[in-house]
Amino acid sequence: MKILIYGLVTGILFGFFLQKGRVLRYDKQLGALRLMDMTIVKFMLSTVLVAMVGVYLLKDLGLIKLSVKPTNLGANIIGGLLFGAGWGLLGYCPGTSAGALGEGRWDAFWGILGMLVGAAVFAEVYPALKTTVLTWGNLGKITLPQILGVSHWVIVPVFIVGALALFWLFEKMGL
């Protein structure tokens, strides 16, 4: 029960900030895909920068564990391409479709229905995928610091500098 309330409160806070950042909208998501408006990229990268530093600090203090998803080249590449094509048509991603509905953009409802169907279809074909695509290029739970053999505190600043350079570029170009 407690964990469900944590989920709800965390979601409310995140949904609140997503709406304040104006990133839930079709026009913003398509704007990024059309390289016209980088609002969602600014939001996402800002979240990543703060979370990356915070999570690694807490990890070093022994307070939390990382949750690393396995790298599976076949599944990641094919799945990523499919996700991108579908996202470009829908204009919302799974989390933002719920948020878009919350601010009254009810075309997200068609998206939620479609996602339920997509999930059901995936469950049906999962046994076939498990023995094919999901075995192609399985590299396990790897991270950049691990494959480069350096401390994560070498990678984190590089990532921060890269993101800040990108922000500077976006502002300069009026995106």
């Binding site: 469900l4 048509l89 075309d107």
Partner: protein, 132 residues
């Protein structure tokens, strides 16, 4: 530049605050953010009403049990949080067609419904395949 009332907050600020929420979530609840698994669980819960035998046959629903857990509440919370933010800042708008869509594809709601539905199904399949 003309200042519009509907500009919201800086995406850098709202994004950074979201990052802080994520860090606190990991610290307090041990939970990282995600959304797409909840659509699998919801699809399973709906299928359980229609064809419970089928759900028990499918291996994928063994690992993604059709039930309400942390992430499902998180996704529901995103809906509520957005609703609260939008309705307290006069940016809630009941809208069937996004502006950019309407400019390009016209006023047909069914056209938008079909494209959104199909795009969503493909996107969710891809997300599940890619693992997140």
């Amino acid at each position: 530049m003309i200042h519009r009332a509907d500009d919201g907050w800086s995406p850098y600020l709202a994004g950074a605050l979201s990052g802080l929420v994520l860090v606190l979530s990991v610290l307090i609840a041990g939970k990282y953010f995600g959304a797409s698994t909840s659509f699998v669980r919801s699809a399973g819960m709906i299928e359980e009403l229609l064809a419970p035998e089928r759900v028990s046959q499918l291996a994928y629903f063994k690992s993604k049990t059709p039930k309400i857990e942390w992430q499902w509440m998180f996704v529901f919370g995103i809906f509520l949080g957005s609703l609260i933010s939008a309705s307290t800042s006069a940016s809630f708008r009941w809208q069937a067609l996004p502006d950019m869509w309407q400019d390009r594809f016209g006023r047909s709601i069914s056209k938008r419904a079909i494209v959104a539905f199909l795009g969503a199904a493909v996107a969710m399949f891809g997300a599940r395949l890619a693992g997140g």
